[in-house]
Each structure stands twice: as C-alpha cells, then as structure tokens.
C-alpha cells in the first residue's frame, strides 16, 4: 500500500472547534501510514509451534498413546486435541507466594459489609492470589495441563514414531508400476516450457563476450555521430575523414551484430526430466476374527483395537489400503466392517475355514505380485482339536509364502486367570520359530494393545535382522 500523507493545516482553518490553534503544527502534520498487512505471510509462529512439539515430544507422545489406550483411535487420528502435563513446558521464574502472615486485599462491589465484620475464609486459601504470584499465573505457570490440537500427520508421526513396517522394501521394488518425472540434469533440446532461462542466458553472455558482439549502444553512438557530421557543411578534411572511418565502422558493427545473434541455438539449455519408477504402494489388510461363542464382547473389543491400530498404521505407509474383514465360527464369511464388529454370532470354532477363505480371496483379488499383503488374526485360541493341524499346514504352506506379514493376537481370558497355552498357540509358535514374518502375541488387557503393537512393529526388529 502506498503511504500517503496529507497536510492537515488547510482543513484545520475551517474546522469547527480549534482550541489550540497555536499548538505546534509541525507536530500534528506528520503523515499517517495506513497499511494493509493482511496479505503478509501468515503462520509466523509455525516454527515456534514446531519447537514446542519437539520440546514436549516425550510428553506429547505419552499423551497420544494414552488417548489411543482409551480406545478412540479413529477419532484421535482425525486430529483431536490432546493434553500434556504442563510441567513438560513449564517456564520457571523466581516469584514470591504468600503463605502466611498478614495481608490486605482491596475488593469492589460491597453490598452488605461494614467495618468489623468477620467473614468466613473461603475454601482454597484466601480471597485471592497473592499479588506476587500474579505475574507467573498470567504466563500460564499455574496450569495443570496444556492442550494441543494436532494435525493428523503430526499425530501419526508422534504416535508411530519408532515403528516401521517389516520387509517393506522387497515387495515395493517388485511392484513398480507408475513413473514420476524427476530432474536429471540438462539437455540442449527440449520443450520450450522446460527452457532453463538462467543457464541459457549465462551461455549467451559468454558467447557474445567471446565473439566480441558489439553493444547496440555503440552502434547508436556511431550513427549519431555520422548524422552530426553529415549535417556539417562545409566539412573540413579531417571531419570528412572521420566520417569515412565512421561509415566503415558502422558497416562493420552492423555486420557483426547481424552475424552474432543475441541468443543462439547453441546457448539453449533445457531442464531434463527422466521418468523414475515409483513403487506402487498398495496394501491389503485381512482382518480375521473368531466370533464364536467363546469370544466375549470385551475380547472382540480388544481385537478391534488392534485392527484399527494396524489400519491407521498401514494407511500412513501406503497410499491405498484395502481391508477385507473375515469372521469365522464354524464357517467363515467375508463381511463389512459393521457386521464384523457388531453382529453377534455363536457356535463352534474352525479356524482353517477362515484361512481358506482368506487364501481364496487373496488369489482372486489381490495377487501377491501387485499387493502388499498383511494379515491380522485375532482369536481366543479355541479351535476344534481336529482342525488345528490343518490350520497349521495351511498357514505354513499356503499363506505365509504369499504374505508380507502375519500377526496373530491371542486374547487371553479375564486377565486374572492365567491360562496355559492353547493348541492353536502351540502350533502357531512352532511355525513362528521358523518364519520371521509370522508374529504371535498374547493380549489380556486393553492397556497391552499398544505395547504389543509396538513390539510387533518396532524398528529394532528390522535392524536386528539386517
């Protein structure tokens, strides 16, 4: 905005009421700037905000994980507010607090008191803050907790800070499909829109200097001089001679100017792009859950927590994550999310039915060449005893070779009851000993969900293998 000042004197002369006509006019004639700052960059404090997160990182992380432990993953992941304890961000200072002795407090709004009245001391220490504490209280030192609103990305970053998908690389390379253009140096041909103007002109200048292209101004000067000399008449011999020289020089300059172009095709430089293969980041997640009579609502809820965690985690790593829900009792069926979690069913348990269905779906719709395949299975470990061996062989021979990662969560009973190992657990464990990408864990309580999850995906696991 242009700043504009107007002298006010003229208008004061005819203004309505001037008391201090003689007040130093120079003082109040100084112009006012009115500036529109709205287009200025916003977000001056983004960097400071980032530093807060960094400083309170561990506190924020704890808070984030508490939020998840309370079981609101979806909502929290959508960018919810979290509170951290204020002392993580406390700014101490030296300040006095009143604890005992005499003090006087002046208040307003007296309606009924007269001198000598005795008032009951209000609970919580006196009619107000000690005046010494006022300063610090204002700066937020007195708060118990501090609220953040995190964006989804910030949240997930903190949440999954040290977690990594196992064996991601292997499959990504085998599933390259798309390419994205990436800068790769310069070339001397290309589309006009890729012209690198800076480099082109740099080369043009070098060439013009090297070949001695005259400056247009030089030619102009010569021409002006010629016109001036031609206008002189009669002209002296010297002047005629000079005129002759100049004409010759003009011819030479014109020739050179015409011969040496301002920008020559050899100057042109274009930015070059090559198509870099971009790994296709598609993943499918199979959620397999036992919904037989032995699975209580509480157990299903735990399983759900785990599935949701896995889903949020995969969503962060892959652009596209498909989910297939398979539930089973005596037989397995593919269902939608709602049915999966909420529709009660009862009956006996045959785990292999679910694995078979999973394998069928995978072969039909998610060929392992194109998809990263993850399987999460939750069960209470109950299985018809005749079925266990079949389940194990199905898992070992058919499923594990095709999938990226297979996590099995066994939800133990009330937590108070310490159970022995189930048949299913025992046979899975035997397979897990041979296969790194089968992970099995037991979970007894909601609090354990996240630690187990972290345990499954913690980065150390990767590095240890490498």
């Amino acid at each position: 905005m242009p700043a504009r000042g107007r002298p006010l004197v003229a208008r004061y002369r005819r203004s309505i009421s001037i008391i201090f006509e003689t007040a130093s006019e120079r003082e109040w004639c100084r112009p006012v700037d009115i500036i529109d700052r709205r287009p200025n960059p916003h977000g001056k404090n983004l960097e400071n905000r980032r530093r807060v997160l960094q400083r309170a990182r561990s506190a924020v992380q704890t808070a984030v994980r508490d939020a998840v432990a309370r079981g609101k993953i979806r909502e929290v992941g959508q960018g919810n507010a979290i509170s951290v304890r204020a002392d993580a961000l406390h700014e101490p200072s030296l300040h006095r607090v009143f604890s005992e002795g005499m003090r006087e407090i002046v208040l307003t709004g007296n309606r009924e008191f007269s001198r000598g009245d005795r008032l009951q001391r209000p609970p919580g220490g006196g009619g107000g803050q000690g005046s010494g504490a006022g300063q610090a209280g204002e700066q937020g030192g007195g708060e118990d907790s501090f609220r953040f609103v995190l964006s989804r990305d910030e949240f997930l970053d903190l949440f999954f800070d040290d977690l990594e998908l196992p064996d991601l690389l292997k499959r990504e390379i085998s599933t390259t499909e798309n390419g994205v253009p990436a800068r790769s140096g310069l070339s001397n041909e290309g589309a006009p829109s890729h012209l690198d103007l800076g480099r082109t002109m740099r080369r043009s200048i070098a060439r013009r200097l090297g070949l001695g292209r005259p400056k247009p101004a030089e030619l102009l000067e010569v021409e002006e001089r010629i016109v001036a000399l031609e206008a002189l008449r009669p002209a002296s011999a010297e002047e005629l001679e000079e005129l002759e020289d100049l004409r010759e020089r003009r011819g030479m300059l014109r020739q050179r100017l015409a011969r040496i172009p301002w920008v020559d095709p050899v100057d042109l430089r274009f930015r070059r792009y090559t198509i870099m293969p971009q790994p296709a980041t598609r993943a499918v997640m199979f959620c397999i859950m036992d919904v037989s009579g032995s699975m209580t609502e509480r157990m299903k809820d735990l399983a759900k927590q785990f599935f949701l965690l896995l889903h949020v985690f995969l969503e962060r790593r892959y652009k596209k994550v498909e989910i297939v829900f398979i539930r089973h009792a005596e037989s397995a069926e593919e269902v939608d999310e709602d049915t999966f979690f909420h529709d009660p069913r009862t009956g006996g348990t045959i785990v292999s039915s679910a694995l078979e269905l999973m394998r069928t779906i995978q072969r039909e719709r998610f060929p392992s060449a194109n998809w990263n395949i993850y399987v999460a299975q939750a069960s209470d470990g109950d299985n018809a005893s005749s079925d266990t061996s079949r389940t194990a062989s199905l898992l070992r021979d058919d499923i594990l070779p095709a999938v990226q990662y297979y996590a099995y969560i066994e939800i133990t009973g009330s937590g108070a009851v310490i159970r022995g190992e189930t048949d299913l657990w025992r046979s899975y464990r035997a397979i897990a000993d041979e296969n790194d990408h089968l992970a099995i864990r037991q979970v007894g309580d909601r609090k354990e969900i996240f630690p187990v999850f972290r345990d499954l995906f913690s980065r150390q696991r990767d590095t240890a293998e490498a």
Partner: protein, 519 residues
C-alpha cells in the same frame, strides 16, 4: 453545520458523516483518522508519535499476541507455547481477540483487526493511535526507561543474531541459553538507574567485535585444554576482583553477561538481548491502569465529540457506548471480579472523576483536592497526570472518595493466624484513606517484582555465586520454581549457586535454595 444544509450526501472530508453502516474501506479509515486527529490534537492537545495503522487478520493478531505485541521476534519454543495457548482459547471461544494492539515505538504502530466494524475502527484509532500513543510519548516512565525509536530495529537485529547463532552453534545450545535467560528475565532489569538509550549501530558493532575477537583468539591447540585453565587468582586479586564485579548487583542478567566465566561470547550477547527486551517491557505493568484509562478516556471523549459534530450517526454512537461499557465493566468481588481490578474500569473512572473535580467540584472534592478542584482546566490536569505519575502514585494522589463509593470498595485484612477475614475499611469517611493506601500498594512495583541481589562470589574457593532475597516470613519464593530457575542460573554461571531468603527485619535466613555446579 454543513451536513444539516446538504443532508447525508456531504462528502466525508467536508464535515458530513464519515461513514454509515458497518463496512469500512481504506478511505473510511483515513477519513476517520483525520477527523479524530483534529479532535485529538486540536481539542485535547495530545502530543503523539507519528502513527502507523496496520490492518491485520485474526490469525495475525494471534501472532502479535504471542510476541507481546511485537511485530518481529526471535524463535523460541516459549512463544510457540503462548501461541498454542492463545489459539486454543480463541478457537474454543473462551477468549475474544483484542480489537487492536499498539506498540510503543516511533512511529507508533497500531494493529487493527479486519473484522472490526467501521465504528470499532474509528474507536480503536482514537484509543490506540492517540490515547496510548500520547501516553507512551509523554509518561515519565516510558520516557526514562524505553527508547521507542530503535526498538523495532533492535528486535530485527536480535532475531537475526539468534538465527545466526543457531546456525553456528546449533539450536539446542542456543535454546539452553535462552531458556535460562528467560527464566531470569524478571531479574534482568535495572530498576533504579534508568535505561541507557539503545543504539543499534553500537549494538551491531559490539556483536561484530565480539565475533572478531573470538576469531582472533581462536587457536586450535587451546581447544584441547581443559576449559577452566586460568583459575589461579591470588587472595589480593580476589578482593580486588570482587570490587570490580560491582556487588551487590540486582540485575542478574547483566552480571552474568559481564562476569560469567564460562559463557561463550555469543551466549553473553543472547543474554544481553533478553535483558534489553525485558528492560523495554519493564515500565508497562507499572502504568497499565493509567495507560488503559488514558486511552479509554480519550476514545470516549473523541467519539462523543465526533457524534456531537455530526461525523458519526446515532447507531454508530450506540455501538461506541455499548463496547465501551463492556470494556469498563468492573464485576464485584463475588461476581467473578475477584481481587483484581479491571485496569480499564479503574483508570477510566478516575480520569472521568478528575474532569468532574476540575469542572464541578463538590465541597468534599475541595477538601480532598484543593489544588485541582474547580481549576477549570480538566484536560490540562489530565495531561499532567498522564505525564508525571505511575499507577501507584496516581492512585495515591487522585483516588477520590467518590470513586471509592462508586466502586463500593472495601478492604479485607487477611491474617492467617485468624480463622476469619476481617473487613477493616469500607467506603466511608474513616475508610477512604485506608483503602486508597492499600490499593496504591497493590500497584507498587516493589510488591509485584521479586527483588533478588547477587551479594557475593566465592572467588577463592569454588566460585559459588551467592544471592539474597530480602523478604519476610510467609512470603517466600515458590520453592520448585526457585530450584529450577537456580539450575538455569548455575548453568549460565558455570559453578554452584546459593540463594538465601533473608528476613528483612531480623536478618534471619528463612530458606536456602542451592543448585550445584553443572558440567
């Protein structure tokens, strides 16, 4: 008047309505500014710095809040924390943003929110660009303690310097120094000797010299030596050095900047920056009530005059009255007001009352204020008060029985030895002076600043820094905060720190806080 003759169609600049309705544009603001300036300078005789009015969005207002109203600031997480706090409160509707923020600088910058209606823009121009501006320029405290002409440049310098330090020495290292300096910033001002003028050129020059000196003495060999190689002072030298240190010293940051033995030169410069900025803000809390009262009184006066002169319509004037009465509302102690006075309310009430005393004094006023009662120069009296007083002395001098009655003030005596609170003064003849004295004490900087002095350094021993807080029993430092702050202090000093809390009367040590030397 013009506008009566030619109806509403008179162009603003010829004395008609400045605007109508809520919408404003830049011409409206300019017209309002000019009309307000006429009254402010012409009728009130205000002397102001040149004004700069900037229109900003609510988001930018949050940024301005964060930096205590300063337009530029260095990066530190504490600002982010403040920002998040304001942002949360604002987004959840707990806090309305101010209509304006004004900066004590020359030119004086007022930020106006774009959401304001035309009337509010006019009101805040009167309030900030003239009321506050006049106060900044004329009040003794601001004149003595701050130098508004250089502050913006200095902040720019500070930001640049700290950013360069971060590049050179790493964000963590800089943050450690800043954290520590911030913790001590209330003890980083000269309270008794006035501030020297900021001289940006000299500041930059000094920073450069420091840097050059660092470079010139750099010798890669020394780097491998233990850091505290030169500690072999003799006894005589120690006594001499103690005198040179200028103890006792109330300005902890100044002492550290000059004397901390293990501080890197850039660390000293950062401490200096924090100290300079703290010094700049030092007067503000001491005159807050007067400053707000002055600005409110000025905007009420100017808006009333604009209305009388036919420059704003009745609707606009009602809006002025409405928002002003919101601002100067003082809830009673049991209506959410608590023990705190609304500075706008008290300041405005006292200033309105001064006008009344000057123009229509009662017998009571003549008895209480013989020197100003009925002197007929209300504006001159106010201008004198704005220039020469701070909150404490202003109350001491001008709080009238009338205002005490209007606020229905009363005083509680809180003795923790008693199970009850005693009402020992109310708004009656016997209580006026008591209340006035107590209220003035609330605004006494001595009560809201904690004064701590460095009294000694163990120069021959382990270089422990000894501090003293003179206070009385029951008014000790908050222990946890004190410990943490001393840790910071020890980190800057490089050796141990001991803080004794000493009874002012008896000299008995009431509490001791220590922080060990840091490695």
């Amino acid at each position: 008047m013009d506008q009566i003759i030619s109806g509403g169609g008179t162009p603003a600049r010829f004395g008609g309505l400045l605007y109508s309705g809520n919408d404003w544009n830049f011409q409206t603001i300019r017209d309002c500014y000019d009309a307000i300036e006429e009254i402010a300078h012409g009728e009130l005789g205000l002397e102001t710095y040149a004004n700069r009015v900037e229109i900003i969005t609510s988001e930018q207002m949050l940024d301005v809040y964060t930096a205590h109203g300063m337009p530029v600031g260095y990066k530190h997480w504490s600002f982010g924390k403040r920002f998040i706090g304001h942002e949360n409160a604002y987004r959840r509707g707990l806090m309305g943003l101010a209509y304006e923020v004004v900066i004590n600088s020359d030119p004086c910058i007022s930020y106006l929110m774009e959401e304001n209606s035309a009337t509010m823009q006019a009101l805040v121009i009167a309030h900030a660009a003239f009321g506050h501006n006049h106060f900044f320029r004329n009040n003794r405290l601001f004149r003595e303690w701050t130098d508004p002409s250089d502050i913006l440049d200095y902040l720019e310098f500070a930001r640049g310097y700290i950013a360069r330090c971060e590049e050179r020495h790493g964000q963590r290292a800089v943050e450690r120094v800043l954290d520590a300096a911030h913790a001590l910033q209330n003890q980083g001002v000269n309270r008794h000797s006035g501030a020297r003028k900021l001289d940006l050129k000299a500041e930059q020059q000094r920073a450069k010299e420091r840097r050059a000196y660092e470079d010139s003495i750099f010798n890669d060999l020394w780097r491998t030596l233990p850091a505290e190689a030169g500690g072999a002072d003799g006894a005589a030298e120690a006594g001499h050095a103690r005198r040179l240190l200028g103890l006792p010293e109330e300005n902890l940051l100044y002492f550290l900047e000059k004397n901390a033995p293990r501080l890197a030169p850039w660390g000293r410069e950062i401490i200096r920056i924090v100290r300079m900025i703290a010094q700049y803000f030092y007067p503000q809390p001491q005159v807050k009530m007067m400053n707000e009262g002055c600005a409110t009184w000025v905007h009420v006066y100017i808006m009333r005059r604009l209305h009388e002169l036919g420059r704003i319509d009745d609707a606009a004037y009602l809006e002025v009255i409405h928002s002003t009465s919101n601002v100067i509302n003082q809830p009673g102690f049991d209506m959410g007001g608590g023990a705190s006075f609304n500075p706008y309310a008290l300041g405005y009430a006292m200033m309105t009352d001064i006008v009344r005393i000057c123009t229509e004094p009662t017998a009571e006023d003549r008895a209480w204020f013989p020197d100003i009662a009925g002197n007929g120069d209300a504006i001159g009296t106010l201008r004198h008060a704005w220039a020469e007083y701070r909150d404490e002395s202003f109350i001491q001098q001008f709080l009238s029985p009338r205002v005490i009655r209007d606020f229905r003030m009363f005083r509680l005596s809180d003795d923790t030895a008693q199970p009850y609170l005693l009402v020992d003064a109310i708004h009656d003849e016997a209580g006026y002076r008591e209340i006035r004295r107590s209220l003035a004490r609330v605004y006494d900087p001595g009560t809201f600043y904690t004064e701590i002095e460095i009294v000694d350094v163990d120069l021959l021993g382990d270089r422990t820094l000894k501090l003293e807080h003179r206070t009385r029993a029951g008014q000790l430092l908050q222990a946890r905060d004190a410990r943490q702050t001393l840790d910071y202090l020890a980190a800057l000093w490089g050796y141990g720190v001991v803080l004794n809390e000493v009874d002012d009367q008896t000299g008995a040590v009431l509490a001791t806080h220590t922080a060990g030397p840091v490695q």
